[in-house]
Symmetry: C2
Amino acid sequence: MKKEFTNNDEASRPIGVFDSGVGGLTVVKELNKLLPNEKIIYFGDTGRVPYGNKSRETIIHYSLQVAYFLMKKKIKMLVIACNTASSVSLPTLKRHFHIPIIGVIEPGAKSAIETTRSNNIGVIGTLGTVKSNAYKKALKKIKRGVNVTQDPCPLFVHLAEDGWNNNKIAQLISDEYLKAFKGKNIDTLILGCTHYPLLKGVIQKSVGDKVELIDSGKETAKEVNRILGKKKLLNSHKMTEKNHSIFYVSDLPHKFKEVSQRFLSKELKHVHKVKL
Amino acid sequence: MKKEFTNNDEASRPIGVFDSGVGGLTVVKELNKLLPNEKIIYFGDTGRVPYGNKSRETIIHYSLQVAYFLMKKKIKMLVIACNTASSVSLPTLKRHFHIPIIGVIEPGAKSAIETTRSNNIGVIGTLGTVKSNAYKKALKKIKRGVNVTQDPCPLFVHLAEDGWNNNKIAQLISDEYLKAFKGKNIDTLILGCTHYPLLKGVIQKSVGDKVELIDSGKETAKEVNRILGKKKLLNSHKMTEKNHSIFYVSDLPHKFKEVSQRFLSKELKHVHKVKL
């Protein structure tokens, strides 16, 4: 059964953004840059993070719970700012709700296709994302003849969350994972997890300067802009003290605040813990 | 409100063992060795793993849900085979249920005190375990004058689960973490997470041969033996094909089966997925 959420002043409503934890903040950062008038309601499922090591069924169940929570906040659009949830739950969420819903996969894939010259694209992500083949399918849908090499990098999420993003060990782990692309002649690498932009430095060193890194967050922000523009849903009013972005988490709001500084380079004021 | 579970043939009932995931299998392995007649009902909360990065409140909530599930299986004793849950939830679980309940902290602490000569003990574990100071308190309760140095090693869980337990990167990460004990003159190190025995090799190299590693799993199995013996609850009947140990998980039973081989060195037959 589809649920309708209508309102006369639709453009002034917030954009819903969700992730299993803090990774989605890389998407929020890009949204803030490109669309400073847009109010965001963010949900980080920190009580059940990470999603990357869970089953399809469980990820869909969690995603639906989060989406229902955000729908009640009368969002005008939903962004699944988590590669694992995007790759697994997007079709189900689209069937359940009428507002525009996008994940981070298609925007990232589109940008990679526009970037590659060699036609050889690499994808790194969680085990869940890689196993789903979501990027491979999205890339092949745009350009059938493209060659895609995928490799899961499960430790990267933990390195990013623990702030080990630029030390010797991070570099060694990165080198070890990215060996998978040796001899594949890739010129474009999709960072298929919203945590990975924090490790850009070490990843770039592992693959060399000639490989272009695709940050899905940036591309997703552009896609949000395009969709809201087309639907005449862009907010023309500036955000105010009263009408600001709000962040919800299912656990540890203080830790979220602390870690979010690394992602947003600013302190979050409004982080609330809720039970789904 | 306390719940009573009585039965005439109490000794033939299973022992309940729970962990956030697969780590508790290191305790199962020791129980199987020491008490081959005992049937085990295991619950691995793989749908919400890990616990180490969650709050006290959330860990207690999850632990109660798991304990209620196991109580319905008419267990005669409950072992919290997870350091994080032991350090946070043990007092609450003891208040809720009448059967004997033990965690892995006290047995590990007891063994460390029996082992140390220098009176300087190190503890490694998840962030949750270290922050709770559970080992420190347990050690000081037995011997007030002992010096305790703690250090969280959050990446170890993921190294163990991904099978990276004995490579160059595991060694480097281990060396980096265990620097915390340089100059502390420790002669005993508690592996305060049930995953860590899989990394014994690299950990031993990092701290040197003179430091004794304490595996809480072994000590916990001895404590189970002691308690069941005292209460005349040891099972004298051999396990049969019909009456065997059963393993429940909240997600990904196949992955659990696969990973469990690394922990138990045998294939598990009976792994079921359940919703709590």
